[in-house]
């Protein structure tokens, strides 16, 4: 039985580049900075809402006690979230710096 010879390989086409999603790549870092500063603004707003409601509670003009409790819990959770994001960002930065060494 004759074994047919192995033919030449057909060239693999050049890989098609996937068009970068809008906003990634060089602008990826800008997005994260925006998200972080937006988060800080929101946190500032939540803390000041919580402060205002606390003052209203102290002067007896707060209509619903749960309003203050909800605002206070939101501010506390947002603070913890911001701190966690900052920690992760710092860890990631340190990781990258270690890589270069």
């Amino acid at each position: 039985m004759t074994i047919p010879p192995i033919g030449p390989l057909s060239p693999v086409g050049a890989p098609t580049t996937i068009a970068p999603a809008a906003g990634t790549g060089a602008s990826g870092g800008g997005d994260f900075a925006n998200a972080l500063s937006g988060g800080l603004d929101k946190l500032q707003q939540l803390q000041s809402t919580s402060d205002n409601l606390a003052v209203k509670a102290a002067t007896g003009s707060l209509t619903d006690a749960h309003d203050y409790m909800i605002a206070s819990t939101q501010a506390s959770l947002a603070t913890q979230l911001t701190v966690a994001v900052r920690n992760k960002a710092v860890d990631a930065f340190n990781e990258i710096m270690r890589m270069q060494a």
């Binding site: 007896g60 003009s61 209509t63 619903d64 006690a65 749960h66 409790m69 506390s76």
Partner: protein
């Protein structure tokens, strides 16, 4: 009392029902006051309850007085009897007053239980977010 308003509103209810209890006990203790026919009998006390001026709860609008005529009873042995042997007694019905007494007591208890439940609800609100 605007933060924990339910407690203040129930408080106005409790005060009004207590005044009703006071009025009923006044009526009951004076039920058999005999006077001569030339004087007016003890007048039954009625508490007028109306909605509170600021719309939060109830207030006592005033105390109305019942009839001065009372009942004329023929009792010539009584030292106060007039020439015809008549004495004037107040026109207060014991069973009616006992019914009112029960209603006032139930109303008072109902308002106090509102205070209790509102206190539990507010304390639960104060525990929001405390599990950490």
């Amino acid at each position: 009392m605007s933060i924990f308003e339910s407690i203040g509103i129930a408080g106005t209810g409790a005060t009004t029902y207590r005044k009703w209890l006071d009025a009923v006990s006044d009526n009951l203790s004076n039920m058999n006051d005999a006077v001569s026919t030339s004087q007016s009998a003890f007048q039954q006390r009625y508490v007028i309850a109306q909605q509170s001026a600021d719309g939060k709860g109830v207030q006592v609008g005033g105390i109305a007085l019942g009839s001065k005529e009372g009942r004329i009873v023929y009792d010539p042995q009584n030292p106060l009897a007039d020439a015809n042997g008549n004495v004037r007694y107040p026109d207060i019905d014991l069973s009616d007053q006992m019914g009112q007494l029960i209603m006032a007591q139930r109303g008072y208890q109902a308002n106090l239980s509102v205070v209790d439940r509102a206190k539990d609800a507010y304390q639960a609100a104060l525990q929001l977010g405390r599990s950490s």
